[in-house]
């Protein structure tokens, strides 16, 4: 083997390095792990949880739910309850 061939063969040997099998899977798994559970929770659920964590919004929604459950009388009660002092 002459010098030029040896040099090219050596370069090929060093450029042949590859990632181990399943490398992409490991990367994607790590990305999902770092993202945490937020990614798996539906967007609607996240918005609802955030809204309900505000006590005023939670109270308003409870009143609305009561009003809907009790019909017209409930609506009136809910309206009185929600009226500012």
């Amino acid at each position: 083997m002459n010098d030029e061939n040896a040099y090219e063969a050596w370069k090929r040997s060093r450029s042949g390095a590859e990632a181990e099998e399943g490398f992409a899977d490991r990367v994607m798994k790590e990305i999902r792990r770092l993202q945490g559970p937020r990614e798996t929770t539906p967007v609607g659920m996240r918005v609802l949880v955030r809204l309900l964590s505000n006590r005023y919004v939670a109270a308003a929604m409870l009143i609305l739910a009561l009003a809907l459950a009790m019909g017209r009388t409930g609506l009136l009660v809910a309206f009185i309850l929600a009226m500012p002092e």
Binding site: M1, D3, A6, Y7, A9, W10, K11, R12, S13, R14, S15, G16, A17, E18, A19, E20, F23, A24, R26, V27, M28, E30, I31, R32, L34, Q35, E39
Partner: protein
Amino acid sequence: MTEDHETILRVRSGDTDAFRFLVRRYERPLVCMIRNMIANPQTCEDIAQDVFVSAYQALGTYDPARCRFSTWLFTIARNKCLNALKRKSAGLMADVPERPDRHGPHDRLAEKELFEHLDATLAALPLEQKTAFVLSELVGLSGVEISGIMNVPVGTIRSRLSRAKAALRESLSRFAGGDA
């Protein structure tokens, strides 16, 4: 719009799985680069994984108008390698997978010795020369791309490359001379 850019837009819009395409596309050249700069094979895999995870996390900051995605990715990889080398100033490089045998036992031994000799020469090169050589000759990037990654003019890259090649050729000649 390039395939990379389309994929990046999909990832940014919430399609995490689309990022797998970029991993599959760049894992080979990236691992090649890192393996030629870092000693421990396990560390190489860890760094390569870290590069992709960091790229995913910083994808929002990537600006396609400034450089190609590959340039941006290799810049992250270079910085990670430099940090790893700073933490552990190991000059040796990783072993690379053995190639299929096509020669007799004597030839194989001579070739192994020669390759080890060249590996040692490459490992002993100044880091900037080694980086330029690895990116150009082993990964196959252009001078302009390497210039973007290393943040120096193309002329400087050519000069570093030339010095690295000269050192390797001299090493090769010395080995051949000593062998004869």
